[in-house]
Amino acid sequence: MSHLAEGTLRRLVDDPTDGVARAHLAECTACRERFDALAHVAHSVREALHVDGVEPARAAVALAAVRADLLGGPVRRGGLRVWAGAVAACAAIALSFVLTPLRSVADNFLAIFEPQQFVAVPVSRSDMEQLRALPDLSAFGTVRSQRLAGPVHVATVRAAVAAARMPVRLPAVLAPGVLDAPQFTVEAPRSATFTFSAARARASAVARGHSAPPMPAHLDGSTLYAVVGPIVIATYPDASGHFQTLHRRHGHAFPALLVVQAPAPRISSTGASAREIEAYLLAQPGVPPQLAAEIAAIGDPATTLPIPIPVDRSYATPVTVDGVRGLAVGDETGVGAGVVWQRNGEIFAVAGATTMRAVLAVADSLH
């Protein structure tokens, strides 16, 4: 048999399954010497070209950056800063007049993989107090976010479309006493990752003097990546041109009318499922057991976003809006009303210091 070709010998270094070539090698000293030399060179080159692997958390940040890029967001890569709480941003912004700002389990984590429906969870005043006392996400792991542009304020829908790089639907019908002179706020897409850390959770439980349940091994080190936005918020003024009406009893400023739209936020995970994460978070000390049971009973946390509704001053009811099922939230005292729904992968919300009937009429007239 003639001597082995260089390419065959080199391949034999990586893949010793070529029986014919190996048989020749066993008999031919010249080829064996060439083989040894090639193997030595290959090994040296491999060593010289060694690079460290990509950590999963790093890959997750990269995926979030790519997703944000694809959404057309002006992403500046590299600079990561802490950013949390955008997970439920769409719903939270729209309903902020009913949902006092929650830094709670519900707001931060009830993992939306891609919310398709919204379910009201009644929350009592004492539940609210307890939820507010809960630590934020950073007590359970590491939050990283992509540094992104701040909000843009524009006065025309054309400018809003240009800034958001997505179509914007506007109502044909407005609530009574609302001027058709909207201003637009465009929030750039945001992306964030969160990596669970059992050690961090333990340390922060100790710091707060709690004995927290151990983090399941499967959760420890698993990473969630979230992409939210762009969010377009159209704010309409009241008849006297004011964009916000201060309500004396509540002390909050309510907008006359808000129309919010955004692609449904997406959260993906390197391992942990929405159900596992929900179970772990709801088991934290300080989460009212009754509330935990109600949230756990809702159904698939991958597609359902629970919206906490203060029972003592609001009501919530499923409605048909814009041709799909949505959730209407109103204030018992008639201060305001809102509705939130998901249609074709986009989340919409209409809310304002007006009646539910007016809000639904506005929502149904979006085009």
């Binding site: 070709a5 390419g7 080199r10 391949r11 080159v45 010289a48 690079v51 990509v54």
Partner: protein, 183 residues
């Protein structure tokens, strides 16, 4: 039982096809670009651009997805390197060749070892710079863990050529290393 069923459902929907492609291929795309550029941050930028380009052009479940990404990683990294070389030439410096080296183990605490390692990396960089782009490509692809078939698909040659290309590229690299860093 209900919970078990939902667990499975949730796990199934963890990643959409593009996310799954990304999770599977991103480390290799970064590895390939890193071995061309010898600069981890630049390699990650290249890798992310490659995925953005892919997403705009092709379906995530296309059968050629892997080969496309690997090939694009090599080309984009070579392009990025040419761009850096042009810039450094224009600015009258060798900044591109002497830029800080970000690959390899960064956890070495010993400053002497770090220095030695940085010198070795500079040697590798100079040796690679003397190779043809085709040689750099085959080295980057194969040493990033691609099989012979995958390397061949990314380079647009038949699998039978890879052994020879690899052996020649490695021999050339070792010769250049000896030249830039005589021991």
């Amino acid at each position: 039982m209900l919970i078990e069923r939902e667990l499975r459902v949730s796990a199934d929907r963890v990643a959409d096809p593009f996310d799954a492609l990304f999770v599977r291929e991103y480390p290799r795309v970064v590895a390939i670009a890193s071995r061309v550029l010898l600069d981890r941050d630049a390699a990650e930028d290249v890798a992310q651009d490659v995925f953005v380009q892919y997403h705009r052009r092709h379906r995530p479940d296309a059968p050629f997805a892997g080969a496309w990404l690997h090939r694009a990683a090599v080309h984009a990294a070579l392009n990025a390197r040419r761009g850096a070389l042009r810039r450094s030439k224009r600015e009258g410096s060798s900044a591109a060749l002497e830029a800080p080296l970000h690959i390899g183990s960064g956890s070495d605490a010993d400053p002497l070892r770090q220095t030695v390692r940085a010198e070795e990396r500079a040697d590798v960089r100079r040796a690679l710079a003397r190779l043809s782009e085709r040689s750099r490509a085959v080295l980057a692809l194969r040493h990033s863990g691609l099989t012979y078939a995958e390397t061949a698909a990314a380079l647009g040659v038949t699998t039978g050529h890879i052994g020879t290309m690899l052996a020649r590229a490695e021999a050339a690299f070792i010769k250049e290393i000896a030249h830039v860093a005589p021991r």
